[in-house]
Symmetry: C2
Subunit: 392 residues, 2 copies
């Protein structure tokens, strides 16, 4: 099969705000080869990601992603890896290329799985898809009282584990942050699993981050996520040496395998969180899972968007029975839910699993997305390089 | 002064090929604030870089670069640093943002220097601008005979040092590579300084890279540049432990300060090469120079394009008398030379220096670039987000 087409669908809620909710827009990718099609999703800024696919050639190491993808033969997983290497080399100087390629890579696995009648996790070498325990992912409230309510809501929705993110944490005093951590603990009850995500708020300030450790320990947080910028491995390590019972988590900013490996090896995280829509897709994510296992680090998916992205994010560690934590979009925007007609619902035990169906196992209904399409056109030297494709 | 406008000029040679020559196109940036304007250059794919400036908001950590720049006050270097932090935080998930911001940051230094009548290197705290010894930067020939001719040409042009890059190296046998290395040595004569750049050809294969070490040692190469992918620190270290008299060089792929620091601390390079058009501009490049000094590593600029970019790339280490190696575009395309009306020519000793003039000290003549402009238009939801500005 040859890759005949790659279509990008830029989708968005009618109104997008500066809240830290990544489900407000989406970049859906469709790849067609032979009699098959596959879907993927870039967890990325849509316009620059489309531009990285269609941009004119700058030089040999700064080629559009399309140059390495269109027309390529795809018969098996080795072809996906080969194309990935080609993109890495030929688009070396196109920074955005990793995000663009991530959605294409996912779609290629989906397509290949459909052509073989196999779920992606089986093509990755796993014998079965083990159920994962989802945690409820939500933002901190503006006040500790709001945080308390959200924690109670998580518990009431049947989630024992919840992750609280962003919001006011790190913006005022450590004492105010303590109130939020304790409110979250109270709402989750004493047996709830509390995860805290501070979204790089401390940039590279280890001491300011460390000021929050006593309260995190008191609240019994399992992990502190993304205290620093994605590449600040030395800061991660310095904080990890002081964090006691609270382990560090991070990795969503990794846009290649090395970055995730280094966060483990140099940054000493206890949990590595990979977004298949950024790291280059499912292949490198699986390699991270292998590396994490070898280092005694727990692999966790990073997903804040659609159930297509959720399925993709479960594949790389579907077969690892002992890695059970799963990020599960708690209250995504309607757009994120509309992308697939089916959803990965929790089973009787409150767990979710990568589907048994071929490919990513999710049905995308393009015509149903008409209300979310963001009409886009890119014109260079009078030639249309990109125009929103028809939803069909 | 408030930042009133940021204009991007996408320029290109009429014909662009897949050769590894980065001077075939350019993304020039003009920033206006108060009565002043400054120019910078992104060493990046133009279209995705423009898109990262104008793209619609995706969420709070995925904002267009423009959201952190337009309207900001800029009175001194601390403001540039403040805006840099804002971009890093608010455009955290826009991968391309670092490349976009790099050209803007340069332009802000240029503007600030002009408003104060000071060269940028002085604002960075340096007392004087020390002359640097440029090396001639050229690609390997297709045959050892061609490589020999190019080495002779470098020497005939008055360069004692020359860097040979890319071409056939790493694509065939180590024996053929040896012939190229020895041809370069012959053409440069026994007292010439030979530098070798293999452009990430070995990806992450340490053994294949190591096969080239004996020949590099025999040819007396000073450094081996970019054997691996930019983030492959562990591979760099493994090769550095085996490389003997040949030191490793790298860093052009760093798109933030941490990446360059880690290449030094984890990757054990002997030379760190920073492109101000990618790492986030002149500020982080100066921080890399400081770190390199503290680690006994030599700082080198990475520049393959215009003399505006060359001036910017000299500023971060202009005051470091002992760091004298300078990449100097050997045979850039006419476009790269046309961007500025003045050029950084070699002095009587064959050396170049960051100019004594205010800002970056280079005169950009926009109307003269009319023949190179790439007309571009980006339209989203019927609204024009970007259209090539007038050359005036």
């Amino acid at each position: 099969m040859r890759i005949e087409s790659v279509d990008f669908f830029y989708l968005s809620m009618p109104r997008v705000t500066t809240e830290a909710d990544g489900s407000q827009d989406a970049l859906l990718v469709r790849v067609r080869a032979g009699a098959y099609e596959g879907f993927g999703e870039c967890e990325a800024a849509p316009l620059p990601s489309i531009a990285a696919f269609v941009c004119p050639l700058s030089h040999g190491a700064c080629q559009p992603v399309s140059a390495s993808v269109l027309g390529q033969s795809v018969e098996g997983p080795a072809d996906i890896e080969r194309i990935a290497q080609l993109v890495a080399y030929q688009s070396m100087d196109v920074l955005q290329a990793a995000h663009t390629w991530s959605g294409i890579e996912m779609a290629l696995w989906d397509l290949l799985g459909k052509s073989r009648g196999q779920p992606v996790w089986q093509m990755l070498g796993y014998q079965r898809s083990h159920p994962k325990t989802p945690y409820f992912s939500v933002l901190f409230g503006d006040t500790p009282e709001q945080t308390l309510q959200r924690a109670r809501q998580a518990r009431a929705s049947g989630f024992r584990a919840a992750k609280f993110g962003w919001g006011p944490i790190g913006r005022e005093s450590a004492e105010i942050d303590r109130e939020h951590f304790m409110a979250a603990r109270e709402g989750l009850q004493s047996d709830g699993v509390l995860l805290v995500d501070v979204g790089q708020i401390f940039a590279s300030d280890v001491d300011r981050a460390a000021e929050r450790l006593p309260a995190l320990q008191q609240a019994g947080a399992l992990w502190l996520e993304e205290p620093f910028q994605a590449s600040a491995y030395a800061c991660y390590r310095a904080l990890a040496e002081r964090s006691g019972s609270v382990r560090l988590a991070g990795g969503e900013g990794a846009h290649n395998l090395d970055m995730a490996r280094h966060l483990i090896d140099y940054g000493s995280v206890g949990y590595v969180q990979i977004d298949c829509g950024r790291i280059g897709g499912i292949g490198p994510a699986k390699a991270v899972a292998d590396h994490a296992r070898s280092r005694g680090v727990t692999y966790v998916n990073h997903t804040f968007t659609s159930h297509l992205a959720l399925s993709a994010s479960l594949q790389p560690y579907a077969g690892l029975a002992e890695h059970v934590i799963c990020e599960y979009p708690g209250s995504p925007k309607p757009l994120a839910l509309a992308i697939t007609t089916d959803h990965l619902l929790r089973d009787a035990n409150g767990q979710v699993s990568a589907p048994e169906r071929p490919g990513l196992g999710m049905q995308v209904d393009l015509p149903a997305l008409a209300g979310y399409v963001v009409d886009t056109e890119i014109r260079v030297k009078g030639r249309v390089l990109y125009r929103t494709p028809a939803l069909a």
